[in-house]
């Protein structure tokens, strides 16, 4: 009996069983990838940024606030210098910001993710503070929900010095060659004016290639020194921040 069954094992059976395994493997990838970027990596960023905030709290006590808006020193490529908090992307959304916009400088690393254009200014300076991040793909997708931004939504950029509050103004879709969005005042040539702008650039359409770019603009509103804790508006939108940073 047993001998008979062994003889029946045909190559077709083996091929079929391998196809089942392969199918399960592909299906597993489809489940794994969204879980990885929207659960595992988001959680990792939350822990990293909370730890950064704690470390900055400890070093902040030394320098008393002099009333001016500080400008962070431009760090070397790949170095983390701040955290972007955007409650519109998710209540507790916080993601590190590092210098440089290369895939393997900042954008593809799940402990960085958001990259600052080295040609643009730093926060606190007149002009355009421009950052980029992935919107789709499997590495890290901080700007996945960029279309959730509504006029008036706050964005908070946290550094060792304190909190820069920006307010979302508009979103547009452009071609990859439209570098005018990075001008000191987006699209305008010549005199930069006095506005301080935060520009987010990411790919478009979401989850479907990157033929275009989605660009979000926010205007600088105010600065709060670290000694005063997180801005009240952020604490209201994201109560968990008080537990992590105060």
């Amino acid at each position: 009996m047993r001998k008979q069954r062994r003889a029946k094992l045909s190559p077709l059976t083996v091929i079929g069983e391998l196809l089942i395994l392969g199918g399960l493997g592909v299906f597993g990838y489809i489940v794994w990838q969204p879980w990885h970027t929207s659960v595992a990596v988001v959680e990792k960023q939350l822990q990293l940024t909370t730890a950064d905030s704690k470390a900055w709290d400890e070093e902040a006590a030394q320098a008393p606030y002099d009333g001016t808006v500080p400008v962070p020193e431009q760090p070397p490529i790949g170095e983390v210098f701040g955290t972007l908090h955007v409650p519109a992307f998710g209540t507790t959304f916080a993601n590190r910001v590092a210098e440089g916009t290369g895939w393997w400088e900042t954008l593809n690393y799940d402990d960085k993710g958001i990259g600052h254009y080295p040609t643009s200014v730093m926060p606190g300076e007149t002009g355009n503070f421009a950052v980029a991040a992935h919107r789709s793909g499997g590495f890290i997708t901080p700007f996945k929900e960029i279309m959730n931004l509504r006029i008036g939504d706050p964005l908070f950029f946290e550094t060792a010095d304190g909190w820069y509050t920006y307010r979302f103004r508009s979103l547009e879709y452009v071609l990859p060659t439209d570098v005018g969005v990075l001008n000191p005042f987006p699209w305008i040539e010549g005199e930069p004016g006095t506005d301080q702008i935060l520009t987010l650039t990411t790919c478009h359409p979401k989850n479907w290639g990157s033929d275009e770019r989605a660009i979000a603009y926010a205007i600088f509103e105010g600065f709060q020194p670290r000694s005063d804790g997180p801005p009240a508006e952020l604490a209201e939108l994201n109560p968990a921040i008080l537990g992590g940073t105060s």
């Binding site: 069954r5 493997g25 593809n108 254009y117 991040a133 992935h134 919107r135 650039t201 790919c203 770019r213």
Partner: protein, 52 residues
Amino acid sequence: MFSLLWRFLPGPAWLRVVVLLALAVVLVWVVINYVYPWVLVQFPEEEATVGT
């Protein structure tokens, strides 16, 4: 292939099921930690910046 694996394992049926489940867990762990991250890098990456 599956039938060969079943015959290869010793012991009563319930023990074989337990061993096979343990093997499946190890396989899934290896796939998630090593295979999928490798597959990820093989995909064409998406551009997020302007002017590149």
